[in-house]
Subunit: 122 residues, 2 copies
DNA sequence: TGTTTGTTTGCGTCATCATGCAAGTGTATT
DNA sequence: AATACACTTGCATGATGACGCAAACAAACA
């Protein structure tokens, strides 16, 4: 199959390769923010999160909004503070689905059946 | 634990959240190229790949180089043609490792033990 | 009501990057 | 050797985006 033919046959991989998720994580500052929130394991206010970054407070606020729109975080307003938390389940699910979708197209001669099956079709 | 404290305790998640991988996939054109190559399932020349995109040939060449540097593709030169292929194994492995690393920090009350364990620590 | 606190938004600036064109490099063919 | 082919690279341009500052907004508190 040629790449041109492959382009026209759609599958779950096309939705999972949506650039929005990757756009959210491609920035170093945002990656750091997400990393802190993941390791933190609880909902954090914007002020708290901004402590682990040297950028301006307003920048952190904007980054967190973007990460929420990308489906990585959730926000909950309590009084005047806004708490952001990682959506662990959906995030992991998306990454695993993407890995599965990619592995689905892996030719048999490249599949590694051993060690966790990183690339086992079906 | 505060986000600031979380920032200082390093783990595998910090390496896996490396923005380079996401930078490679955050562009719509590159995502499309990768999608075609994944579905294609074989090594393709630059000319072939450029057929499934409306952008200039040179742009595709640059994108493929970037994707190779990001560890998503491999290249092999045969005569005057260069063939790019998806590194299915490492790519899937990275995505799964990232999902595992994220799930590791998932608080117990958010874990979903059912249906494939999308967020099961360890 | 006025003030403080937590967060968002408008705006200007600078850097990065995707793109197309033209020119260059390297390899096969005649 | 000359030409054609596959690809890469230099350069200019336009668009996107990260950032900081200041102002605005909203909720609690005096």
């Amino acid at each position: 199959m040629s790449p041109l033919q492959a382009a026209s046959c759609c599958g779950p991989i096309d939705d999972l390769l949506d650039p929005e998720l990757f756009k959210a994580l491609c920035d170093a500052t945002r990656a750091r923010l997400v990393g802190c929130l993941i390791k933190c394991g609880r909902a954090c206010s914007v002020s708290e999160v901004s402590e682990c970054c040297s950028v301006d407070f307003s920048v952190v606020s904007r980054h967190l909004q973007l990460l929420e729109r990308a489906g990585i975080l959730t926000s909950a307003k309590q009084g005047r503070t806004v708490r952001y938390a990682v959506k662990y389940g959906p995030l992991c699910q998306t990454l695993r689905s993407l890995a599965d979708a990619i592995a689905h197209y892996c030719p048999a001669d490249q599949a590694t059946p051993c060690s966790g099956g990183c690339c086992t079709p079906r």
